[in-house]
């Protein structure tokens, strides 16, 4: 049973909500306008002949003196399951980004050590981001980089443990394992968050791109393999396909 006083309180509450909605309406409209003010860049990346796995030879010549760390005494053809999506990045470069400082994500991106391979092989981040390096192999790794944007040496730590590194300068950071020479990865420290790692079928989409002229770059494996100049307009979609 509802009392008279309660009804009055509810009526007053509805008035406050209604007033709030009226006050917020212009803001919502602005927000909607803001979303529409950006463009989208999308397309498909095709890498001819790219296998979903990589094979390499890693023979532990002197491993005959201690328990094998690789599980095989020949390790003749280690098959690492690296998907296309772990090797490709599409990202934008533009003069307008130089003066801006984007907020790095609160959730740390991860560069995994699993099956004697880094996952992904290339990791794009915005400057200021902290990356986690968990060890998911049942053996030691020693992740390090001597690249100028950020030198680090994480030492040896076992499965289940992780170390973190913050990247405060833009550039290309080559990452290696001091114990397993075949392990390598690249961290792309970018000045803006307009990048994407395509899906395994190669499709990608970068949304909410501010209107302007940019260079779109297609990174595959260890390097940029193609660049193009594009112009993005509000509310429009620019399609850029890459074939390598």
């Amino acid at each position: 049973m509802t009392s008279l006083t309660d009804n009055r309180l509810m009526t007053r509450s509805w008035r406050i909500v209604l007033l709030g909605c009226l006050l917020m309406a212009p803001v919502s409209a602005l927000c909607a306008q803001g979303l529409k003010s950006g463009g989208e860049v999308k397309g498909k990346v095709v890498v001819a002949g790219a296998a979903d796995t990589e094979r390499y030879m890693s023979i532990d010549r002197y491993g005959t003196h201690r328990p094998s760390v690789t599980g095989s005494q020949t390790s003749t053809a280690h098959v690492s399951a690296v998907r296309l999506s772990e090797k490709v990045v599409v990202f934008l470069e533009g003069k307008s980004f130089k003066a801006r400082r984007f907020t790095p994500p609160l959730v740390h991106p991860v560069l995994d050590q699993k099956d004697l391979t880094f996952h992904p092989q290339v990791l794009p981040i915005v400057v200021g981001t902290t990356v986690d390096f968990p060890n998911r192999d049942n053996l030691f790794h020693n992740v390090f980089s001597y690249s100028q944007p950020r030198e680090f040496d994480l030492g040896r730590y076992p499965i289940g443990e992780s170390r973190s590194v913050q990247f405060d300068e833009t550039g290309i950071v080559r990452v290696y394992c001091d114990i397993h020479a075949q392990m390598n990865a690249t961290i792309l420290v970018l000045d803006n968050p307009y990048f994407v790692m395509p899906t395994d079928d190669g499709t990608y989409s970068i949304k909410d791109v501010p209107e302007g002229s940019y260079t779109i770059k297609f990174w595959y494996g260890r390097e940029v393999v193609e660049s193009r100049e594009i112009s993005v307009k509000n509310g429009e979609v620019v399609t850029v396909n890459f074939t390598h």
Partner: protein
């Protein structure tokens, strides 16, 4: 220059076969050093400053998924070609998890492993147990010559430069336990350069256990005849096979974070046919070395190693059959690049039981892997 062995030809042939895989890698190192001036064996180039170089090439050839051919070729300042490692490895025979290797390779004794190479060695030289020549040669010797040889460095090493010898080995893992059983033409202290020079093979056993990630504890033992059957008369008309070397060791490897530690203790004894009676000569050797990476690119390392010899009766006086030696080596290393390293090392050697020769050494070494 030696003739290229058959396996090298095989590896090249594999390279021409599109279905096979051959992989080359290697390293080049160059150094400058200055020893004290003395006739001691740890002195290089008589104490005059000198430069030197070394090239190591590693060839891995995959014949099938379970058969690989391996070869190491080494060339150093004297420009001779050495084939240190020339072997075929058969993995997982009959699906039993047992591996087999035959050819010339490092015998399963000790834990030197890749640290024999300049890019992996934290310091300049090898521990005394691998490098120092005792006064006992692998030939028949008299008591007087043995006494005269002390400190001259013309005899056998304790573990002959990591023992690349010709042999055959089965090895594998049983959980965290690793085993290796091998036979070789030569002995641990006197590796064979070619065919077996007596009727005996050395028998070698090694067990290694990894109780936790980063820690490996191991033990090895070996036994074999060390005198060659070259026609030299042996006192009391015995055969070379009657004179054995028995050697055992324990070693450990520990690493965590930026710290690495390796250590080894070895005990060896030889039955020696001296002129009036057989004698049992023994030596105990050890080393411990540690490396710490302080920050990216930069590390420091240190090693202590020593040899302690047993006593023998020389004309009624008990004397050590060689001088005890203690050595300490320290250095700093800087990685110029991922595959390029420069090290500066200072080594102090102390010979006990006699006038200590001045045989300290300072070296700078550049090493590049490719």
């Amino acid at each position: 220059m030696k003739k290229p062995p058959l396996i090298l030809v095989m590896l090249i042939a594999l390279g021409l076969n599109a279905d096979s895989q051959v992989q080359w890698s290697g390293q080049v190192s160059a150094f400058g050093l200055k020893s004290d001036r003395s006739p001691a064996q740890r002195v290089l180039n008589g104490g005059d400053p000198t430069l030197g170089w070394r090239l190591d090439l590693f060839l891995d050839g995959r014949v099938t998924d379970d058969i690989v051919a391996l070869a190491n070729v080494r060339v150093s300042g004297n420009e001779y070609l050495y084939f240190d490692y020339v072997a075929l490895r058969f993995a997982d025979i009959a699906g039993l998890g047992i591996n087999f290797q035959i050819g010339k390779f490092d015998m399963p004794f000790g834990n030197l492993d890749e640290r024999r190479f300049p890019t992996e060695n934290f310091l300049f030289g090898l521990p005394l147990i691998y490098e120092y020549r005792t006064s006992l040669p692998n030939t028949v010797i008299t008591r007087a010559d043995l006494l005269n040889n002390r400190g001259r460095g013309i005899g056998m090493r304790l573990i002959d430069l990591g023992v690349y010898d010709i042999g055959a080995m089965v090895f594998g893992d049983l959980g965290d336990l690793h085993y290796a059983l091998a036979v070789s033409n030569g002995t641990i202290s006197s590796a064979s350069g070619g065919q077996n020079d007596n009727k005996d093979f050395s028998k070698i056993v090694r067990l290694a256990y990894t109780p936790m990630m980063g820690l490996t504890l191991a033990a090895a033992g070996a036994m074999g005849a060390y005198l060659p059957n070259d026609g030299t008369p042996i006192p009391r008309t015995k055969a070379p096979e009657d004179y054995l070397q028995k050697i055992g060791e324990v070693d450990l490897e520990f690493s965590r974070g930026h710290f690495l530690l390796n250590g080894e203790v070895v005990y060896s004894e030889w039955m020696v046919p001296l002129e009036n009676q057989d004698a049992r000569l023994s030596v105990m050797g050890y080393y411990g070395e540690a490396k710490y990476t302080w920050f990216p690119r930069f590390f420091t390392a240190a090693r202590v190693s020593g040899l302690r010899f047993s006593q023998l009766d020389f004309s009624g006086v008990q004397r050590r059959w060689d001088y005890d030696v203690f050595e300490i080596e320290g250095g700093i290393g800087v990685h110029l690049d991922r595959n390029a390293l420069v090290k500066v090392v200072r080594r102090h050697t102390k010979t006990l039981g006699t006038t200590d020769p001045h045989d300290d050494l300072t070296a700078i070494q550049f090493a590049v892997a490719f």
